[in-house]
């Protein structure tokens, strides 16, 4: 089944990229989910769409070729993430407001850029739902670099990210620089989203960050275990989703998400069958 993926260059790049995003998306997703920021991924993916549309418009209307939609999407995503952090500071009591503001802004810009770039086309369809054939060698190399940076930063700042996610007040009292770490984290999130969009698509990228985590949360004891399980579930979903998407001629975004949902349902089922898996609430 894997033969085609090994034989054709474009498929090989897609496959290797899939392995990478199967690691980095759930890895950051664990922090996003426990910080109750699942919707931020959605907001950022829509900003990324605006960036992609911007890149397409520049290509078509102004013949600017050095700024491919992939790069401009990434740039927009990072800018959007910084804006979200700023907005969360402005609306301290209603931090979730940042999400609809950025999300609608992203969609609004996308509509404008898309119509200036003469409307819908196959390319855009690929960006929305993912594609098995969209990853070029350059894209792959950039995603490889991003993945190395992300895994490295998460490893180096693991205890800070973990401490802040659990109890921000305590972390700040003990002297952590909450703001800087948040900013670092959200910029990483933006990079992961931009990197994943080629394969899963704008509309479904947040699922890859949250569904594997939702599944492992049911089963794991402790945070590290949850992280580990999330990555395994993420990899499973990407691999099965990519291969089945290719053979069934369905955009991989759809198949990857459906595999994730099956894994999620299984994990809920397992927990139901073994309800005592992690209950210890004994008397003191």
């Amino acid at each position: 089944m894997l033969a085609d993926f090994l034989q054709y260059d474009f498929l090989r790049h897609t496959f290797l990229t899939g392995i990478l995003i199967g690691i980095i998306a759930p890895l950051l997703g664990t922090f996003i989910v426990v910080r109750r920021l699942s919707l931020i991924a959605d907001a950022l993916s829509h900003v990324t769409l605006a960036g992609i549309a911007f890149g397409m418009m520049m290509e078509k209307k102004f013949a600017v070729t050095f700024l491919t939609p992939f790069y401009s999407g990434m740039a927009f995503s990072v800018l959007g993430s910084i804006l979200i952090e700023k907005l969360r500071g402005v609306y301290k009591a209603y931090q979730e407001l940042a999400i609809p503001i950025i999300m609608s802004g992203g969609v609004g810009l996308s509509v404008i850029f898309i119509s200036v770039a003469d409307g819908f086309n196959t390319d855009l369809f690929n960006y929305l739902f993912g594609s098995v054939s969209a990853v070029s060698q350059n894209d792959f190399l950039l995603i490889l670099v991003i993945s190395i940076i992300i895994v490295g930063v998460v490893a180096l700042f693991y205890k800070e990210l973990f401490t802040l996610s659990f109890d921000e007040e305590h972390a700040t009292v003990s002297g952590l620089h909450a703001k800087r770490i948040h900013l670092l984290f959200i910029v990483l999130t933006a990079l992961v989203i931009a990197a994943s969009i080629r394969i899963v698509g704008v509309l479904l990228v947040s699922a890859l960050m949250t569904l594997p985590v939702a599944a492992s949360m049911r089963l794991a004891k402790g945070f590290k275990q949850m992280m580990f399980l999330s990555v395994i579930f993420g990899e499973l979903a990407v691999m099965i989703g990519l291969i089945s998407g290719y053979y069934l001629s369905i955009p991989p975004g759809g198949t990857i998400v459906m595999v994730s949902i099956v894994i999620l349902l299984l994990s809920i089922g397992i927990k139901k069958l073994r309800p005592n898996l992690s209950k210890v609430r004994e008397s003191e």
């Binding site: 205890k159 002297g175 209950k279 210890v280």
Partner: protein
């Protein structure tokens, strides 16, 4: 005379025109077990935030371990167990060990990892609060009293000189409240940790505290708990602005 752990001189603090604290002078002597009582909105939480450096006074000076609070950097010498600790996200998948390890995050510092020695310290702190057998359990599955002890362990792992607790027994059942105070008593007596405890329960303070402070914008009382409970209802009504009943605990 030994240097007090905290000394506040002439502290005033206002929040958007509303005066919360006015001319507060307070010293927390080393080794004290100080209870902080007072009506809601009387400034108890603000006082703690000032000590923790989370807010700056409009007037007056605060010294922590003989250093002005603005220059104080050794924050891990101050442990803090908040009221909200009990209202944390119960679904958060962290083991007792992981929660306690967070106490060391700032101390260990950026770009460094926990060593074997740190891990031993974490286990010691868990042992001190009697939670060793739960070290690998998810903290969300424990009872309220057990969780509160885990949060104390998170502070203990830094070997703090002062432990501040903001109404730590809210939501803990009566039986375990007693065990909780026994633990605090032990930390105070045996390990010499200075305690500052915000509470509504003046009755239980008479049993454990060495000092009792009553705060309502200004300091209304600072002395031994026995003296406070012997105050007449009239005196207390004056402090609280409404009639007060003291519930005594006879253990």
């Amino acid at each position: 005379m030994t240097i007090p752990v905290v000394s506040m001189e002439n502290i005033s603090f206002a929040y958007e025109e509303k005066t919360i604290l006015e001319n507060v002078n307070l010293e927390i002597p080393r080794g004290a077990f100080m209870g902080l009582v007072g009506p809601n909105g009387g400034g108890k939480t603000t006082l703690i935030k000032l000590i923790l450096g989370l807010q700056q006074p409009n007037q007056g000076s605060i010294r922590i371990l003989n250093q002005p609070v603005r220059q104080f950097r050794n924050w891990n010498k101050l442990g803090f167990v908040s009221q909200k600790a009990n209202a944390f996200n119960r679904g958060f998948p962290a083991t007792v060990f992981e929660v306690v390890s967070m106490g060391l995050t700032a101390k260990v510092g950026y770009l460094k990892f926990l060593t074997k020695k740190h891990k031993e310290k974490i286990m010691q702190a868990i042992d001190q609060v009697g939670m060793l057998e739960y070290a690998r359990e998810n903290v969300g599955n424990l009872s309220g009293g057990q969780q509160q002890r885990v949060f104390i362990a998170r502070s203990l792992v830094n070997e703090p000189e002062l432990l501040i607790l903001d109404e730590p027994t809210v939501g803990v059942d009566q039986e375990n409240v007693k065990r909780f105070y026994d633990l605090l008593h032990q930390l105070n007596e045996e390990r010499g940790i200075t305690l500052l405890l915000v509470t509504h329960d003046t009755g239980i303070m008479t049993e454990h505290a060495t000092d009792l402070v009553c705060l309502n914008k200004t300091l209304h009382f600072h002395g031994e708990p026995e003296v406070y409970t012997s105050l007449s209802g009239e005196d207390l009504s004056r402090i609280y602005g409404h009639p007060v009943n003291i519930v005594t605990h006879n253990h």
